[in-house]
């Protein structure tokens, strides 16, 4: 049950799913995305600098070179801090709630906690994405006015996009904990 297993993402990149059970009603599921490749980084940097040297050869202004260096650095920092997601994890604590965390490559973590009373269900949905049909896991939030209605859909694992086999594992783990709240007697 616990441990790390390799899977594939929707675009074919290798992922790994790590499951940990902290207690009978608390589980953590983390999907690790493929890391930043050195070759794509060097390719992007070389392209920018070649363009900058070309411009410099045309206009003989050294500001172009410093601007290119500055742009590369700023672009890399922005990419690592705001765009590149390293790991997406789901912490399900029965009777408290579900916590969704995304960790970026620069170490920044962005967390959302959804209380159990707002969670209606966790389901696997299909979506048409460009020319593909992909599966994604999502949390359905309860509508406070309408007990049968759904007010919001929160998609999970959006940047890693694991395939159906990985999603089924996560779905089963979540449902085991969500079932507990249905069988637990509601306190008067």
């Amino acid at each position: 049950m616990e441990g790390e297993r390799p899977y594939l993402s929707a675009s074919g990149a290798p992922l790994s799913l790590r499951r940990r059970q902290h207690s009978a009603s608390c589980r953590e599921l983390a999907v690790r995305c493929p890391r930043l490749q050195l070759r794509s980084l060097s390719a992007a940097t070389s392209a920018v600098w070649l363009a900058a040297y070309g411009l410099f050869a045309l206009c003989q202004n050294s500001m172009v070179l410093s601007a290119a260096i500055f742009l590369t650095l700023a672009g890399l920092i922005i990419y690592l801090h705001f765009v590149k997601i390293d790991q997406e994890s789901l912490l399900v604590i029965g009777s408290l709630g579900i916590q969704v965390t995304s960790s970026y490559a620069s170490g920044k973590e962005s967390t959302t906690f959804i209380e159990m009373s707002r969670v209606k269900d966790v389901v696997i949905n299909e979506a048409v994405h460009m020319q593909k049909v992909i599966y994604y896991l999502c949390i359905l939030l309860q509508d406070p006015q309408d007990p049968e209605g759904v007010s919001e859909v929160v998609p999970l694992f959006q940047s890693s996009k694991p395939r159906l086999d990985c999603l089924i594992e996560v779905y089963k783990s979540c449902q085991e904990i969500l079932d507990q709240r249905k069988t637990a007697p509601q306190s008067s």
Binding site: S23, A24, L96
Partner: protein
């Protein structure tokens, strides 16, 4: 149901005692607020707690026992603590015990009802008491929108935050007090206070009274009958400086009011207005000191007349160009000359007036520049008004051109209907057929032809002056956008989010701590701060914002028909 115990991290090293807090039965969670140490008299503890309950309206009671044994497990103490459960009857009676420096605590409950056969799972959640007390939870937007607040819909977390926030009275006694009850909580090492804050609180009362008195004088002067006569009232409504000053006066009234802020949004609003005013005035004084140094005002006044002359010269060149063959188009000579000469004479008049005023410009500018100390927004509004006054002739030309063009278009459309044998029925508001006499038809067709062939000339003049007017409007609009930004930005909230991010909470986040088998699940609850975008959205100050009145299609339609456009609408302006 799973039992959740919220334990303050400051009490982790407290001596043995009993746990005091609130039990939320519908969520099966216990919020521990403090630990009461031995020796104590149970009657006194119950009295104290009922007093606290009266003041804070929070259902505080004794929830269980806390056993912190430094050496090996003390059997007699644990039995004594169990017996306490019978004195302070609370169901369930929570027993937490810690051995030495171990991180993993034992947590068990004593249930009175025997119906619960299963062993209940217990989750231990640590929280930082001071941060949770000071923090304000912002509900997500969809729950904030629903107005009915049923008890079961209320967020669990807000109940916990509420409990800690309202129990401030409980945290006022520290270990140096000589009361009968010795407690441990986040402030038990001594109540902290800041001298500066206390001094400012004392000074704020007379300052507010003085400010209210001054403001009442000023508003009385502003509302006097003298200023309400027609030319002056029209002038005040058109000048954006007066509107901005009125807006700031309102803000000052909000700050200097004697009523305390009732709830958090009101307090944040007052603080935001105060900081915004302060920064505004500081920037204004900075601008003023920069302007008055090295006699820059004098230089500005000296360049103002040449700039006005230059604009007039450019306009004259433009008109000469229009009177010739502009862009290769062939104009109707006579109409061209008439319109061109009319506008040229207008410019000549305008320049004469400007030159008449030139000796006084420097002095006026000097005194007007002094009003920059009222704030950067006022200075920007004055700049916008000066631009409006300097380009008044462009506005006049636009109005003349637009009216001429509008007349022409209406004439053309009406004569076109005559050409086809139809008429506009004013009574029925529709187009009806009509039989015209021959002479009516003849004159109508003649006029139609004349108007049609004179259309390009008028249209060109209209186009040129409309573009100039739109340019001025765009410049004024940008200045007003900047003023709006300074007015509405909640600076205090942004600084608070930056420095004390736990005060503005969007929610919480849990971290799973080290676990051991057989021991309860340990979680750390931290505060998840609000994002900067939500901070600005929640705490934006309302302004008399200027925003586009018309959509793009209606704007184009008005331009095509020659109706006068006033693209920026101010909130509170009467619709024409």
């Amino acid at each position: 149901m799973v039992l959740k115990v919220f334990f303050p991290s400051c009490c982790s090293s407290a001596e043995s005692g009993i746990l005091v807090g609130r039990w939320i039965s519908e969520q099966s969670s216990a919020v521990i607020l403090a630990v009461v140490h031995f020796p104590f008299i149970p009657v006194q503890v119950k009295q104290y707690l009922s007093q606290v309950q009266q003041v804070t309206k929070v259902n505080v009671s004794v929830l269980g026992s806390w056993n912190n044994s430094k050496q090996e497990k003390d059997e007699s103490l644990s039995e004594f603590l169990e017996d306490l459960g019978t004195i302070f009857s609370h169901d369930p009676w929570i027993q937490i015990s810690k051995e030495g420096d171990s991180k993993f605590w034992n947590c068990s409950t004593l249930q009175k009802q025997p119906n619960n056969h299963r062993e209940e799972e217990i989750i231990l959640v640590y929280y930082d008491q001071r941060k949770v007390m000071l923090s304000h939870l912002h509900p997500p937007l969809d729950t904030a929108a629903s107005t009915d607040s049923k008890a079961e819909d209320a967020s669990k977390l807000s109940a916990i935050f509420d409990t800690v926030a309202k129990s401030k009275v409980l945290f006022m006694t520290d270990k140096y007090d000589d009361g009968p009850i010795k407690m441990t909580h986040w402030q038990s090492d001594g109540v902290e206070a800041s001298i500066i804050v206390e001094l400012m609180k004392q000074a704020s009362v007379p300052a507010c009274m003085l400010l209210t008195f001054l403001l009442s004088l000023i508003s009385g002067a502003c509302n006097s009958r003298v200023l309400k006569f027609w030319p002056l009232s029209f002038l005040w409504s058109k000048l954006s400086t007066c509107e901005q000053l009125g807006h700031r006066l309102q803000h000052l009234q909000v700050i200097s009011s004697n009523k305390r802020a009732q709830n958090q949004p009101q307090l944040m609003r007052k603080a935001n207005i105060f900081v915004s005013l302060l920064i505004d005035v500081a920037l204004g004084i900075l601008l003023m000191s920069w302007l008055y140094r090295k006699n820059r005002i004098g230089h500005l006044a000296d360049t103002l007349i040449p700039v006005a002359d230059h604009i007039a010269e450019e306009l004259q060149d433009l008109l000469q160009w229009l009177m010739g063959a502009p862009a290769g188009l062939k104009m109707n000579r006579a109409l061209d000359q008439v319109l061109g000469r009319f506008f040229l004479y207008h410019i000549h008049l305008w320049i004469s007036y400007i030159h008449l005023m030139s000796p006084f410009i420097e002095m006026i500018l000097w005194y007007v520049g002094l009003s920059a100390c009222l704030g950067l927004t006022v200075a920007l509004c004055i700049l916008s008004d000066i631009i409006a006054l300097l380009t008044f002739h462009i506005y006049c030309f636009y109005v003349y051109g637009a009216r001429l063009y509008c007349l022409k278009i209406y004439g053309l459309s009406s004569l076109w209907r005559l050409f086809r044998g139809k008429k506009w029925n004013v009574l029925r508001q529709r187009v009806d057929s009509c039989s015209y006499d021959l002479d009516q038809l003849f004159i109508g067709t003649l006029l139609f032809t004349i108007l049609l062939f004179l259309l390009p000339t008028t249209a060109l003049y209209y186009l040129v002056f409309t573009l100039l007017r739109l340019l001025v409007v765009i410049v004024q609009g940008l200045i007003h956008l900047l003023v709006d930004l300074i007015d509405s930005l909640p600076l205090y909230s942004i600084i608070l989010r930056f420095c004390r991010s736990y005060r503005l909470a969007a929610g919480v986040k849990f971290r799973v701590l080290e676990q051991q088998d057989g021991k309860p699940l340990r979680l750390l609850m931290q505060i998840n701060p609000l994002s900067y975008g939500s901070v600005v959205q929640t705490y934006r100050l309302p302004t008399y914002s200027c925003y586009p009145k018309d959509s793009w299609t209606s704007l184009c339609k008005k331009l095509f028909l020659g109706e006068l456009i006033y693209p920026w609408k101010h909130k509170g302006e009467k619709q024409d």
